[in-house]
């Protein structure tokens, strides 16, 4: 990939969750392999989009990176240093550099704290301000930064609308001056007309503060709008990763193609002429994923090798990787059918 050391590099990250009570006498303890062997990197100021349907592991991946979940194996390198090796005190310092914005504007704000105290919590934890007045000033600045009136500092979360709450969540993350933010479906709980406000805000902040984003979402249209590069996840694995335009123009993995074709474009003229590819079947349970390529039971171009081989991500174009053994021959196969 390009340029010098990336800001963040994820290497072979896996996360498994045990399922069931786990107590003694509970038989057949299983694990959900939520994230399996995922690698990618993010440059300073860059946005990597992470798209996938439910059960794809995209949220788990985002949370594992900032260590809200403890990854099962793999490495997370921040400026070349593995975050997973850090001691508790060192982790504290790294926490400042990586933050998260959540999907649900309701459960992500403590209902018993005022908006000002929510935003200021990071300042207190990391002793970033030296006096009460400086603290208030800084909180007011953060309010203005995300487009909220500082007068509203003393109000409580329930007095704000969904969009405003999302702004409070963004201000909270920005308080500790991070370089990298995991945006976990930040607009999917919002109304159509409010989504654009938050997307624009995120873009402006990125430019102003040179932030790097991992933008996790299920809506490929939103991801495409905001991301430089896009990774597509399916059942815990990254199946394709490429620069946004490249991915849109040359989707190589059959799942990526199906995902794109499933998203209608708000233009009836374009819709009339679009190629459609509707998948059959359901997304399998991550408890019991198919063998070999996880996509093979739903794949229109699967052959008898697919249930046996776990495909590696490999280059299929300029900075474009796909995990499909039939990726090269895809054009030919789909032309035949």
């Amino acid at each position: 990939m390009t340029s010098a050391t990336p800001l963040l590099e994820v290497r072979n990250l896996s996360k498994e969750f045990p399922v069931g009570s786990g107590g003694f006498w509970s038989r057949n303890s299983q694990t959900i392999k939520a994230v399996q062997d995922v690698s990618f990197s993010i440059q300073p100021g860059e946005t990597l989009g992470l798209v996938g349907e439910s059960g794809s592991g995209k949220t788990t991946l985002g949370r594992s990176i900032i260590r809200l979940h403890e990854p099962t194996s793999g490495q997370i390198l921040l400026d070349g240093k593995n975050v997973l090796d850090l001691k508790r005190s060192e982790l504290q310092r790294v926490r400042r550099r990586m933050q998260i914005i959540f999907q649900d504007p309701y459960s992500s704000l403590d209902p018993r704290l005022s908006a000002g105290n929510i935003v200021g919590e990071g300042l207190l934890i990391h002793n970033l301000t030296s006096s009460k007045s400086e603290y208030r000033e800084r909180v007011a600045e953060l309010f203005e930064l995300v487009g909220l009136n500082p007068i509203m500092m003393n109000r409580f979360p329930h007095e704000f609308s969904g969009g405003q709450r999302q702004r409070i969540g963004i201000a909270r993350a920005l308080a500790v001056e991070p370089e990298f933010i995991v945006c976990d479906e930040p607009v999917s709980a919002l109304d159509v007309s409010i989504q654009a406000q938050i997307i624009n805000l995120l873009e402006e902040l990125q430019e102003q503060l040179n932030l790097a984003y991992l933008f996790v979402a299920h809506d490929l249209s939103v991801v495409r709008h905001i991301s430089d590069r896009i990774a597509v996840m399916y059942l815990g694995r990254v199946v394709e990763i490429a620069e946004g335009d490249e991915l849109y123009k040359n989707p190589t993995h059959p799942y990526t193609r199906a995902l794109m074709s499933g998203i209608p474009i708000p233009d009836p003229v374009i819709e009339e002429t679009r190629d459609r590819m509707v998948l059959t079947g359901e997304i399998p349970s991550p408890l019991n994923p198919p063998s070999g390529c996880v996509f093979n039971p739903r794949c229109p171009i699967a052959d008898d090798r697919c249930p046996k081989i776990v495909p590696e991500l490999r280059a299929v174009g300029d900075d474009h990787f796909a995990a499909c053994i039939n990726a090269d021959g895809y054009g030919a196969v789909s032309a035949n059918s």
Partner: protein, 333 residues
């Protein structure tokens, strides 16, 4: 004569402190066999207006205070309770948003699927069973004769929505109202369900009224569109007209503010400022006026009537006729 004609419908919700005008003078119609969309953001009254057709709004606090709902030449609001009950499911069926909660968890799929058929069509349970298995097969549920015995919790969201589609079809209604039928589903499953519904509607010559906030879904599946804002329809027309030539600032705002798959990174989104109004405390004049880029003095005084342009394309904006000119001149508040 249209299959369904809603005229000046007003459904209000009454509480101690306020009246919420969820639907406040809505008119639209659905012709036999066509697909019509009712589009709007959450809380704009689109669901209430469709539930009003079925008379399924919780009463109290809700009440249909005015208007007519003419279905097959009959005003549904004048029917007694028993007559209205016989219309439900038999002539108008409904599919809801949440497949996970729309099926009764303690009743088998078989019972839930056959009970309406035995009641509304007067067929024997055995016939109903046979038909139910056929229906499940038609909506794409594998091994229907086995799965019909199961309970909803073992079905995935997509499968449950297929069951809901089968249920809606079971009495061969003339109209199916689908209230956000795929919002809760994954993208690849969404496409399956919507395609299925469209195929079935064509196959059986049923009309489809889709309620959605997703303009993409509308562009792909609808013949005609009604756009709602704050309890009223603010623009309507054929799908192509609305997308190619929006004549209301709200419609334009929606189209400009949604990210599109076919647009590259960096393309500008123009958000609609502010937020949707509280339906129990609407602003004076046009409800959209406080958020409107082009609002004038007149807008905060009087609500504009919905005006026909051509080809049944109409809009409720004072500047319908020279809308384009205003947009181009870029007048903003």
């Amino acid at each position: 004569m249209p299959l369904l004609e809603v005229k000046n419908l007003k459904t209000h919700f009454f509480s101690d402190d306020a009246i919420t005008k969820a639907v406040d003078g809505v008119s639209y119609n659905v012709e036999a066999g066509e697909t019509v969309a009712l589009v709007g953001e959450s809380g704009c009254g689109k669901s209430v207006s469709s539930l009003s057709v079925m008379q399924l709004i919780p009463q109290p606090p809700g009440k249909i205070v005015d208007g007519e709902i003419i279905f097959g030449g009959q005003n549904l609001l004048e029917l007694d309770r028993e007559a209205m009950r016989r219309k439900r499911g038999r002539e108008i069926a409904m599919i809801f948003q949440e497949p996970m909660t729309s099926l009764n968890p303690v009743i088998s799929i078989e019972t839930q699927l056959t009970e309406a058929m035995t009641l509304q069509l007067g067929i024997t349970p055995k016939e109903a069973h046979t038909r139910a298995v056929e229906l499940l097969d038609r909506v794409g549920i594998p091994e229907p004769d086995v799965r019909i015995k199961q309970y909803p919790h073992v079905f995935s969201g997509g499968m449950r929505q297929r069951v809901m589609v089968a249920m809606a079809l079971s009495c061969e209604p003339k109209l199916i109202i689908a209230d956000e039928p795929t919002t809760a589903l994954d993208v690849t499953i969404q496409a399956q369900i919507l395609d299925l519904m469209q195929d079935l509607a064509k196959e059986r010559d049923m009309a489809l009224l889709i309620i959605t906030h997703n303009l993409g879904v509308v562009a792909r599946y609808a013949d005609r569109i009604n756009i709602m804002y704050a309890g009223r329809i603010i623009e309507r027309g054929t799908c192509k007209d609305i997308f190619a030539d929006p004549r209301h600032p709200y419609t334009l705002g929606l189209l400009e503010s949604i990210p599109r798959l076919d647009q590259p990174k960096g393309s500008k989104l123009i958000p609609i400022q502010g937020q949707p109004p509280n339906l129990s405390d609407l602003p004076p004049g046009c409800s959209f006026q406080p958020r409107c880029r082009f609002a004038q003095d007149k807008c905060s005084v009087e609500y504009p009537d919905i005006t026909d342009l051509r080809n049944n394309h109409s809009s409720a904006c004072w500047e319908v006729n020279n809308f384009k000119a205003i947009v181009e001149s870029g007048v903003s508040k």
